[in-house]
């Protein structure tokens, strides 16, 4: 398998009056093509920052990030991005949102858009405006919009965090189906352990202040996975233990 994403010694500091906050500290991570990697960790561990660096939305960091053979210098369509909010353009219909700056009059774009609308199960809503959609539906449009550009890597930043439990479970399933059908490499940032075990081929557990990788847990369970199974619960426990494990140095409780 070829490497889809290579992160090499990446460090990032946010500058402030007192010098700066060290959010990422010499991070190394390799993601193979077709892998589904989840990044999990306490808030403030820099997981979302990492995703923005990979996307090229922030290029103020040390180290190297490469997608395929190309080093990342800015945003590009080879990295799709799903945000926590759907971020659809409110003045465009569903199909036009998916097409974006591509013309629906192009028969190739047209057929791909139709295919994606079917894939995310939104048939009949092509001409609807975002305000007419539920949160879950909007997020599915956002997924279709990202997939239209055939990204090498799809980056997902807590995409289902703002949804209710039912919709979330439903969308996790939908995302899994898309991953199986399209073989798109995916990197998912989440704080939901169940979500990470349910979807991923490996889970990266991060530590906060400064953000470091604490453990990489390969999840070698066959799909489809059942959340109630014993093996699932065992993986859940392993990740929970990694997350709970306190570092030897004392925490500073300055408030």
């Amino acid at each position: 398998m070829a490497t889809a994403l290579e992160i090499n010694q990446v460090s990032k500091t946010f500058k402030n009056d007192r010098g700066g906050v060290h959010v990422l500290d010499h991070l190394d991570l390799t993601v193979q093509e077709g892998e589904f990697v989840s990044v999990i960790g306490p808030s403030g561990c820099g997981k979302s920052t990492l995703l923005k660096l990979i996307a090229g939305l922030d290029s103020d960091f040390h180290g190297q990030i490469a997608v395929g053979d190309h080093e990342v210098h800015g945003p590009s369509i080879d990295r799709g991005f799903i945000f926590q909010e759907h971020r659809l353009f409110p003045w465009l219909t569903v199909e036009k949102n998916i097409a974006g700056n591509l013309s629906l009059r192009d028969p190739e774009v047209r057929s791909k858009v139709n295919h994606l609308i079917a894939l995310v199960n939104l048939g009949g809503f092509e001409k609807a405006y975002p305000r007419q959609l539920s949160g879950g539906m909007s997020q599915r449009v956002a997924i279709a919009r990202a997939l239209l550009r055939n990204p090498k890597v799809l980056l997902l930043d807590e995409p289902f965090g703002a949804l209710d439990a039912f919709t979330r479970a439903h969308l996790q399933e939908a995302l899994h189906d898309i991953w199986e059908k399209n073989k798109t490499t995916m990197v998912l940032v989440t704080h939901d352990i169940d979500e990470s075990v349910y979807l991923s081929s490996k889970v990266v557990v991060m530590d906060a202040k400064p953000g470091r990788i604490k453990a990489v847990v390969p999840i070698d369970l066959p799909y489809p996975r059942t959340r109630s199974s014993k093996a699932f619960q065992e993986f859940r426990t392993v990740i929970l233990e990694h997350l709970d494990h306190k570092p030897s140095e004392p925490d500073d409780f300055s408030i």
């Binding site: 800015g74 945000f83 353009f89 003045w91 974006g100 405006y129 305000r131």
Partner: protein, 274 residues
């Protein structure tokens, strides 16, 4: 089952009848005061309680209007007024829109341009009019420039505001999808700022009408404003009223036109569900 449906049908028809009756009643109530006022006006002038030379009367105004229309005089004045207002609006509004977008997009140009524009904006237009006449004469140029100066600012301000209010998160999306700079303007900034831009168009149009009157009252040999001024000096009060009514109608019509445009273009907004 059928009987219920029939009963429901009957009820629905009754409801619909009731609703159209309500609407008719509302219209009647809205028209009540104006109609009474017109009647009182007419009666008072006929009785001689109001001097018809100064106050005219609804019937006199109507007769005058018919006369002005049939002789083609009204159209002669209206043609030139429309031409001035439209050209002034297109020139001033167009520039306002362009500057609003540029200044909205770019902080540096905001710092260079915006303070001066804000300063000029506060000057009453009537105060500048004498200068315009000195510089550009009594001809069409001074009038059109005065109208464009007036209609420049509402569109400039609204376009600027609209661009500034765009959600920065959408720019991130556009960058990720590799929108070119031009696509960011045409496919993100302008549609997103459209509610403000259309409001600017409405405000600019109404200012254009006002400036038109000012320009034509100050010195012209044609146009509705001139018609009013000319009629005043001959004490033709009814013609003055016809002119005022024409301005009111034109303002209302242009405003309705933009409203229709808003309803068509802003269907995506929550507030335009109707």
């Amino acid at each position: 089952m059928t009987t219920i449906t029939l009963a429901e049908n009957k009820e629905n028809t009754l409801k619909r009848k009731k609703r159209s009756w309500d609407r008719g009643l509302a219209l009647f109530r809205a028209l009540f005061l104006p109609v009474v006022a017109l009647l009182v006006w007419e009666v008072l002038t006929r009785l001689g309680a109001l001097p018809s030379l100064l106050f005219s009367s609804p019937s006199l105004i109507l007769t005058r209007a018919v006369n002005l229309i049939s002789t083609g005089k009204l159209w002669e004045h209206m043609e030139i007024s429309l031409f001035r207002a439209l050209l002034g609006f297109l020139l001033g509004g167009g520039l306002g829109l362009a500057f609003g977008i540029i200044v909205g997009m770019n902080r540096k140009s905001e710092q260079y341009i915006n303070p001066s524009f804000q300063m000029i904006r506060t000057i009453p237009l009537l105060a500048i009019t004498p200068l315009f006449i000195l510089w550009f004469g009594f001809g069409e140029l001074s009038k059109i420039l005065l109208i464009s100066l007036g209609s420049f600012f509402p569109l400039y301000l609204q376009a600027f505001l609209g661009i500034r209010n765009i959600d920065n998160k959408l720019f991130e999306v556009a960058r990720i999808m590799e929108y070119t700079r031009l696509q960011q303007i045409t496919k993100l900034m302008i549609p997103s700022a459209l509610p403000n831009i259309l409001l600017g168009v409405r405000l600019s149009l109404s200012v254009a009408w006002m400036c038109l009157v000012a320009a034509e009252l100050l010195g012209a040999d044609k146009g509705i404003g001139y018609m009013i001024q000319d009629a005043r000096s001959f004490m033709q009060t009814d013609t003055v009223f016809v002119g005022i009514i024409i301005f009111a109608l034109a303002g209302k019509l242009s405003d309705s036109f933009v409203r229709v445009l808003e309803e068509k273009l802003l269907r995506w907004q929550d507030s335009f569900k109707a």
